[in-house]
């Protein structure tokens, strides 16, 4: 077998590739600061996928920028040199290589993303049940979580510009509380326009669309207070359509639920209205919004 001779150029190229790979792996190791804390089981899955893509992206980024920068310095035309560069029109082998490698890479990323999505699907944003479609996700990956514990169902109403949470036994609140470690299924409806449910620490987002029910499933794994943001432009006060989200230890959750049951309903829901909402500008489209705004106005007087 002929051993290729190691020329200085070849060794420089190999060193550059090794350096880029090491640097990309290092970036992958230190990517925590690129995501907020993970507060549910699903976040870990998304973060692993994100980190993997980040490593590959870093390698491509460093490679391309490195070559461009190197070229800008090494291949600069000397003053007065009017000759052309080498007439290289292409290189079939090289071109096949840089078609095949990205193809394999993106197909692998698709498969990886798909498998992550299946795991999310068992406890993540899913709608197939609602749409009565055969769910490949649920069939392929019925996890123990699904079978063992029935998820806690919470109904959510989104409206311009508030979130209302409906718990069992008619308890209606303006904050979302979920128990730690228990699967939760959110069933979301909109009373007016399209809104978007997003808690960054949960890594889950789902539009809330009038005329249908959309769902989000997750299992919270970290107690604490988070913020639910509306992510679909919904009008005047879209930017302040937020709600507090609490992941409570199971005993705290029960205590909270009991305390809510004791409160008069206006007080509970009014908490959900953003404090900066300019009441006069809230368009009174629906009965619910009208009632809600009415409550708040009464309180202010």
């Amino acid at each position: 077998m002929r051993v290729p001779r190691i020329t200085p150029n070849l060794s420089a190229a190999i060193s550059a590739v090794v350096l880029i790979v090491l640097a990309s792996l290092w970036i992958g190791q230190h990517s925590d600061w690129l995501m907020p804390v993970a507060a549910d089981r699903e976040a870990k899955l998304v973060d692993d996928l994100f980190t993997f893509m980040l490593v590959i992206a870093s390698a491509i980024f460093l490679g391309v920028q490195g070559i461009l920068l190197y070229s800008a310095f090494a291949f600069r035309r000397k003053p007065g040199d009017m000759t052309d560069g080498p007439p290289l029109e292409g290189n079939i082998k090289l071109e096949i290589l840089w078609t095949l490698i990205p193809t394999v890479l993106v197909l692998y990323l698709s498969v990886y993303s798909y498998s992550t999505y299946l795991q999310l699907g068992a406890a993540g944003p899913m709608e197939s049940a609602h749409l009565h479609l055969p769910s490949s996700a649920a069939n392929a990956a019925p996890t123990q979580v699904d079978k063992a514990v029935l998820p806690l169902e919470i109904n959510i109403q989104a409206m311009q510009f508030a979130w209302i949470f409906d718990y069992p036994k008619g308890i209606q609140t303006g904050e979302l509380h979920v128990p730690l470690g228990k699967p939760v299924l959110l069933k979301m409806k909109s009373n007016d326009v399209i809104h978007g449910f997003w808690v960054p620490e949960f890594r889950l987002k789902q539009d809330v669309i009038p005329g249908r029910t959309t769902t989000v499933r997750f299992t919270a794994t970290r107690a604490g207070q988070y913020v639910l943001n509306c992510t679909q432009l919904c009008g005047t006060s879209h930017g302040v359509m937020r709600a507090d989200v609490f992941v409570d230890k199971p005993e705290d959750y029960q205590k909270w639920l009991a305390s809510q049951a004791a409160l008069p309903s206006q007080l509970r829901t009014a908490k959900g209205l953003p404090k900066t909402t300019i009441i006069s500008q809230v368009p009174l489209h629906t009965e619910q919004t009208r009632a809600l705004v009415g409550n708040l106005r009464t309180q202010e007087q």
Binding site: Q65, F75, T83, S113
Partner: protein, 549 residues
């Protein structure tokens, strides 16, 4: 097919007056396009400054409805009155010269498609003056929000601003359909002798592909907008769920146009880059055929990925998976382009003037946008970052770091041809460095803001995000300032700049074989082509180009 400007209108105005007339000369129309769209670019940029002013503080400063209008019109102007028509402007000026013909196939249609733009744009901007304010439902204009009544005093009234927005976008869309027909007929039917498809400069390939995309996609947008217009003004319920309509259908129709529209805005930009890099590297374009074919590939695949904008919209699982895979695959032809450009530069004799600096940073910045694009194609990651500042960062890396940088490269490259004057290199470089720094300062931190919880299209945000938002705003203002040296340079040099020879860059494509600026009708004798457009470094057999000044 060709009608000739002067012959058509014996009394046609000449000199600067010609640029304010219904001229049918493709070169006049090209410059009309570029100057008009640049004015809209500056207006859109001012709106961006307002956005960055609002976001200096975590609380809403401006009237929230006005803020919603500002970012809605910012996006609409940048897309429909800057990127799409500016690139069509280059196409108008350069394509007939590049393929060796005397004008576009339908000169009057060409003039008409330009003259639809100023009224369309003025109509759009005027909507700030109506009582309901300009459209504020984002440039996607998703119903039911866009179809809602708005408050005017105590009454709830039809949203006049939204109706004007719809009318103006339909109008501008019509203009680009007309231009597309013209490009397709010109490129397919009017190439000079010997100019086979695979001897066309790459910019012609990208313009041809773009025109095909425009022709297929834009009517679908027009359809969606017309139905929405009925919903708003006639009370129909096409997209209204309370009457049995479905707002998600609108999203499908909208993105069926608006994702391919991304390629309408980036493919001609890639074409410009493919012209500039070989000239200033003094090397042939690496993998010319692969670049041409990957252009078509992107054009075709571009029609199969639209629903990746709707991964959180309530699309079923199988649909999400299908669109994830197609969106991932589109990275392959895009990658081919990037690698070919790098290989073109590698080992060349680079002249790092303003055009080349913008062209090389196009590659550099576009790669960043491409990589975040692959992340967005992956459903699980997209579910987290869609509709956040991560997406805002991504789209600006593609459309500003990509398309706008390419337009600047194109202006520095073709300005001598268009005006017969050279631009000043010193001010060109000042422009480049301020743009490059301002751009990255403005858009790089947005990735972090997005992953950490800042949704897009908000006037208020969490206090923790203020420091980064201030940095972003400083970058934004620097970008605004960076246009000043450019404007000064262009205006001064257009009047007093150093005279340009016919071929100051020693380039090999046909537009450089005629005088600067080219004569009316371009060529006295139509040239005959025997080689490809990028034969740098080779002894030339025949010399259809060079030296007549």
């Amino acid at each position: 097919m060709v009608q000739i400007a002067q012959g058509d209108h014996p009394e046609a105005p000449t000199g600067w007056r010609e640029y304010f007339s219904f001229s049918v000369d493709h070169k006049v129309i090209g410059i009309q396009y570029l100057v008009t769209t640049f004015i809209f670019y500056l207006l859109g940029g001012l709106l961006a400054m307002v956005i960055r002013y609002e976001l200096l503080t975590p609380d809403a400063t401006l009237d929230p409805n006005l803020y919603n209008s500002v970012f809605t019109i910012h996006a609409t102007v940048m897309i429909f009155l800057w990127l799409v028509p500016a690139l069509a402007g280059f196409g108008n000026y350069v394509v007939p010269l590049m393929i060796g013909t005397r004008d576009m196939a339908f000169p009057r249609l060409n003039a008409l498609s330009f003259w639809m733009i100023p009224p369309g744009g003025i109509l759009l901007m005027s909507s700030f003056l109506v009582k309901t304010g300009a459209a504020g439902a984002g440039w996607w204009s998703y119903p039911p929000l866009s179809a809602q009544l708005v408050a005017e005093g105590d009454k709830m009234v039809t949203n006049t601003g939204e109706v004007i927005w719809l009318a103006s976008v339909i109008f501008l869309g019509t203009s680009s359909i007309l231009a597309a027909i013209n490009f397709i007929v010109t490129i397919l039917g009017m190439r000079t002798k010997g100019m086979t498809l695979f001897r066309m400069p790459l910019f012609c390939w990208t313009t041809l592909t773009t025109a095909c995309i425009t022709l297929i996609a834009t009517p679908v947008l027009a359809g969606a907008l017309i139905l929405l217009m009925f919903d708003i003004t006639q009370g129909t319920v096409f997209f209204n769920p309370t009457g049995g309509g479905d707002p998600v259908v609108y999203q499908h129709m909208f993105w069926f146009y608006s994702h391919p529209a991304v390629y309408i805005m980036i493919l001609p930009a890639m074409g410009i880059i493919s012209e500039v890099l070989p000239v200033f590297s003094r090397k042939p374009l690496f993998g010319y055929k692969a670049l041409a074919i990957s252009t078509i590939g992107i054009g075709v695949l571009g029609f199969t990925v639209w629903a990746h904008h709707m991964f959180t919209s309530g699309t079923p699982d199988w649909l999400r998976m299908f669109f994830m895979i197609t969106s991932m695959i589109i990275a392959v032809p895009t990658g081919i382009k990037v690698f070919s450009w790098i290989a073109t530069v590698w080992g060349g004799k680079l002249e790092l003037n303003s055009a080349m600096l913008f062209a090389m940073s196009f590659v550099s910045m576009f790669v960043v946008g491409g990589l975040s694009g692959i992340m967005l194609a992956s459903v699980p990651v997209d579910i987290h970052v869609s509709n956040t500042y991560f997406v805002v960062a991504h789209l600006h890396y593609v459309l500003f770091g990509g398309s706008v940088f390419a337009i600047y490269a194109g202006i520095y490259y073709w300005f001598p041809k268009m005006t017969g004057r050279m631009l000043n290199e010193f001010w060109g470089k000042v422009h480049f460095y301020t743009t490059f720094v301002g751009f990255n300062l403005c858009f790089l931190p947005m990735h972090w803001l997005g992953t950490h919880g800042m949704p897009r299209r908000v006037a208020a945000y969490a206090v923790d995000f203020q420091t980064l938002n201030v940095i972003v705003s400083i970058g934004g203002f620097l970008l605004g300032i960076s246009t000043l040296p450019f404007l000064f340079n262009v205006i001064y040099c257009w009047i007093k700049g150093e005279r340009a020879t016919a071929n100051p860059w020693r380039a090999l494509t046909l537009e450089w074989t005629v005088s600067s600026p080219p004569p009316v009708e371009n060529f006295e004798v139509l040239p005959e082509i025997t080689e490809g457009p990028y034969e740098y470094g080779k002894p030339l057999l025949s010399v259809p180009q060079q030296q007549q000044s």
